[in-house]
Subunit: 384 residues, 4 copies
């Protein structure tokens, strides 16, 4: 695919995701961390405007001077911005105007792609497209959170519940003690946090080829896992007690049966599917209860070729920290990843709402230990 085709495809996929939405669905933001669809949509256009168009388009005229303030996410280099928790308060521009903004920038972008032969430009376009794909996933998980916390549990697509993914083949893989290479190694795109390919020494370990299933997780619940402090990290124990957490996110019990909110509405929890919407704390607790442990991100990466993965983000017991020789890019782009390397845990794999080309075994996703609105699950490992 040419860059132009990629641009058109990926940008158009974002619009496809918007199809089921009414205009009134674009704005509400009941919790600070789940941005409304209108904001995602405008921010994705802003990213190209701010980091590509303003640099490469001669005599570029901004469509609206306020958009930089409204739709900058977290780039201090790009100036002041609306607080994350206030994105739902952005009454104007209207949805229609946000689509016009999109069209305006797309025209400029396509013209630049046709006419510019600059490797820096191309690199930034590719970054912007990868950025857009990351937000496509967030668009869906944020929407699910907002809708899943709405008292009427709206339906996004009756045909796609998006949670009944298989666990993979039962069994385990053994990996011998030794030195292994970690980090991205190839010609394609990757994020800066995957670079700095380096060696790590691993002790021998065994890792499951299957994700933990809903049936297994229900066993944990029924065995009193959420009431047994022995299973929990201290901050996890505090968290479940303060937040009254007693099951994965979106699960409710009705008539002695587990149901869960999905984007196809309220559905019975499927026993054979991979458990979903766990926090790190819950994943860790399950592993502890099972007598095993979470793999590290390095163990996961080394073993990943030997099992199927890709419909859950899998919590690892590795903190999100820089690889040796990690380099922060200068300027705003340097804020993309590096400044978040604290207090977050690494997830490996990919989810059902992850863009296909984001499914690479070196990809490092990261969230805070209590967060669970992504499509997160786990597999377990143990020392041997």
């Amino acid at each position: 695919m040419t860059l132009k085709e990629q641009y058109i495809n990926i940008r158009s996929h974002t619009e496809t995701l918007c199809k089921p939405l009414r205009n009134e669905d674009y704005v509400s933001q009941p919790v600070y961390f789940a941005s409304p669809p209108k904001w995602h949509l405008a921010h994705l256009t802003w990213f190209f405007e701010e980091f590509v168009v303003k640099t490469f388009k001669k005599d570029y005229q901004v469509i609206n001077a306020q958009f930089n303030f409204l739709f900058n996410s977290y780039y201090n280099h790009a100036g002041k911005r609306v607080q994350r928790s206030n994105r739902g308060g952005i009454i104007r521009p209207t949805v229609e105007e946000v689509f016009e903004y999109r069209k305006y920038i797309d025209e400029v972008m396509l013209d630049l792609i046709d006419t510019l032969d600059d490797p820096v430009f191309k690199e930034l376009v590719i970054l912007g497209l990868n950025h857009e794909q990351q937000h496509q996933e967030l668009f869906m998980t944020d929407l699910k959170h907002t809708w899943g916390h709405s008292p009427t549990w709206p339906i996004y697509d009756q045909k796609a519940d998006l949670v009944n993914s298989p666990c993979g083949k039962l069994g385990s893989v053994k990996i011998n003690e030794g030195l292994y290479k970690i980090g991205y190694n190839g010609d394609g795109f990757c994020f800066d946090n995957e670079l700095g390919r380096h060696q790590v020494y691993l002790n021998s370990f065994e890792i499951s080829t299957a994700l933990i299933s809903n049936a297994e997780f229900i066993e944990f619940i029924q065995d009193g896992g959420y009431q047994n402090f022995n299973c929990w990290l201290d901050e996890g124990w505090t968290w479940i007690n303060e937040q009254d957490v007693q099951a994965p996110l979106y699960w409710i019990k009705q008539d002695d049966q587990w149901w869960n909110y999905t984007l196809a509405g309220l559905k019975p929890v499927q026993y054979g599917a991979a458990v979903c919407h766990l926090s790190f704390f819950e994943a860790w607790a399950f592993a502890e209860w099972s007598g095993k442990r979470l793999p590290t991100e390095f163990e996961w990466e080394v073993a990943a070729d030997q099992f199927d993965w890709g419909t859950r983000w899998e919590w690892t017991n590795s903190a999100y920290l820089p690889y040796p020789n990690f380099k922060k890019a200068p300027g705003a782009i340097g804020e993309y990843n590096g400044k978040f390397m604290i207090n977050q845990m690494v997830l490996r794999g990919a989810s059902v709402v992850t863009a296909l080309n984001h499914s690479r075994k070196t990809y490092r996703n990261f969230f805070h230990p209590p967060e669970r609105w992504q499509f997160t699950g786990l597999r377990i490992a143990n020392d041997i």
Copy 2:
């Protein structure tokens, strides 16, 4: 006007207020106390459904069993409800469905009005219409709050800023010491909190015939009123310091000039207009600074025939408490007023967004001391 005409007129006025809105304007709720338009709209229909239709319409079929949970405001008798702060999270029903709900109930109501000759029914219809009119005002003040805190300051109606109301004739009125009657006395509708007409003994006092103007309030600001603890109640002083309050709500200073957000957009503050959007604390502080005081609600009511009033809610120095012989109605209707008689101060008068027939001198409005998103101002009084 017949009851039917009243019903049609008042209900249709609510829809008129919605005219300038796009669908995406109906849902956001950035702060807990300012409900979104969709919720107001549905709640007003719910009020008739819950308190009239369900009682008087035989074999009534609810259009949606969840609406009682979604659109009950604060009536414990009517069952559980969505928390006030979560009204912005009600994704469904859509705006269209809320209008359909309105139409559905209106048809039932009009049929009942045509066919029923029951004084209890009529009383409840009239209460529902007065309720709707109160919400028409809240609809506007909540909208102004949401839009006025949006970074782009949207315009509702370019021709109606709604704040440049005159102060009234300069001067003052003297009232002699003596016994006066307080409370509603007539045949028309009034709220239960106006009843219990009773005598109060007033000392002699003087009250201004004009509201305080923006020019006067700017003088207070320029004299350091917001920095002078002598002007403030202790809780007011804490409030302005914690919230960093330095001017009336919606005011901002640009290039040494005061501007304010209005529903017609950002406009210069007009010196001659009555000051607007003050908290009780600010009104009290201004009065203290001026060497006078706020009137009590009884002084206001006794003197009200002798000055023009009606474009500002005027803070009084009376707490919102029951009149002698106040009676709480049985059941849900008893929750309308009585349970709020604590920690609030009485406002008298009426604002530019108050329904005309709510402009009666015995009407008791009430808000908490720091609240100022209503169209609030003050006039001053003194002992003589």
Copy 3:
């Protein structure tokens, strides 16, 4: 008693209250509103130093320049001060040094009392003594709060539980409709908030001669009073649910029996004693449940000669607001009362820890509706 005798007696009573304390009891402040004993002790001396000694003692040398910052309570005129919530963090001066400070100022004060014949001086000394007596009560109620929330429920005085006070004679008094005089009228000391003697018109009412007993309050509890929204003001209902309030402060249920923490330790609740440690919300709810209401402060004052009162502060349904012609004194003394006239309700009567000469029927005590660490109870009234 001469002024000197009064000074010696009242000051020495404060020291008597300290007798049962160990040094380590003087400093802890687990909640912001209950000041530690060391702070009370030092503040009382500071009051005389700041408002009397600094004005009337020539060439006065302060014992420690920091004490004004440390022991000023809320007088903005006296300069900056430690935040109320941080009083427990005042490690130094030691308890011994605070007693030395006391002795130092007492010597100056006694010398001034002997030598000065200035009415302004005398007035301030009397104010300081009344202030000290108010704090003697707070000293005890704050101590009870701190100790009553300590896991080991320490004993202050095994012989004095201080809560088993009688309710008074059963029955009621009827007062006829008419004009009554309200406010202090005499030659002795009173606070500024009692002045401005004025007429009020009262409707006929009946008021109980007895306080509500523990037995009656237990009946309210057993009838589900704390679970019945009909009994509560809206903010009261929110308060009991958010704070999980199910009984008066210090009450706990053990083996189906009510106990309460007293300054003599944990004791069974005595059925015949007057109920104690109620918030305004609970007092209001009880009255509502009983089918009657709280009296207003005016009703209470008018009827007070016809019943015994004085071992409970009695909640009234009057907001704490200025009387007509209320005058704020100039300077710091003006901050004593007036600036608190918002969001508080008036209590009349006196408690078992109130100084005797504070037991006058015009005395206006005031607290916020949820507060209940004073020795508070209620009597009920009704319209006739």
Copy 4:
């Protein structure tokens, strides 16, 4: 030294630390994380009582059945306990009673040491002594926090400011790429988190032989380090802005000169001393500003023999996570370390208030990124 001598020495050192305290210094707890001296003192005795005496002393009679509830820190296995934030509310037992408790348990312990020859017993005694030594450090840092936030900045020991420690020899050490062994390897005591000796592969790096000095840190401040978002992790930037952090803890600027509160009172900051009381965020920011980085805990451990260390806890860029083969002990002892392995960063080295035998290069200390009331500093490293 025999176990008995060790026991006597270490226990007696705790009492030595108490010498400068008045009884009223033992109880205040202005912030939840800094426990009061009385609590530390009692908790240390409780540790021996709960984990040793109750197991090994036949027919042991507890001195007070409440002490387990009062003085258990965080052991869920040992039952319910006072919340950490409420330790300052433990009015009783008195200081005297806490010393009696100490004496009571010491007698039992010394008798057991004399008579028991059980390796499990000895292991637990040694753990208890190491625990006591850890708390000796916390006793001092908690005291410094409480006193350093008191408005009068009390003095603990005029001769020991405890912060003017040297930085060590200027220069750097280079370590070659390769496999290194990490973790404790010896016969003495170590904590479970140091075990699981294992290999790690390190890239070549260089590490400074000197700690960062106050002079260097002042240069960072003067260069606008606290105002430059480029230097900070995102959560660090939020933290300094929300908390208004502009210098290390205890520093204040007076007359254009930096002073800091020390346990000897307020003193000028010494330029040549090692910077102290930094959070991880500040240490990270300094390193970023300097163009280098923090070492990992593995780099630190491998290089530690080649530089002097030991008067600062040094922040590393390693998250506190288990080593391979980490084993949690069964029962309460298993709660000692493992359950805290989330959201904390590792510190290596030792401080001036660390017990001598806790200064081993494999020791893993850990705190949350914003915490800085320990004696924390940094050295820097870089890739080569």
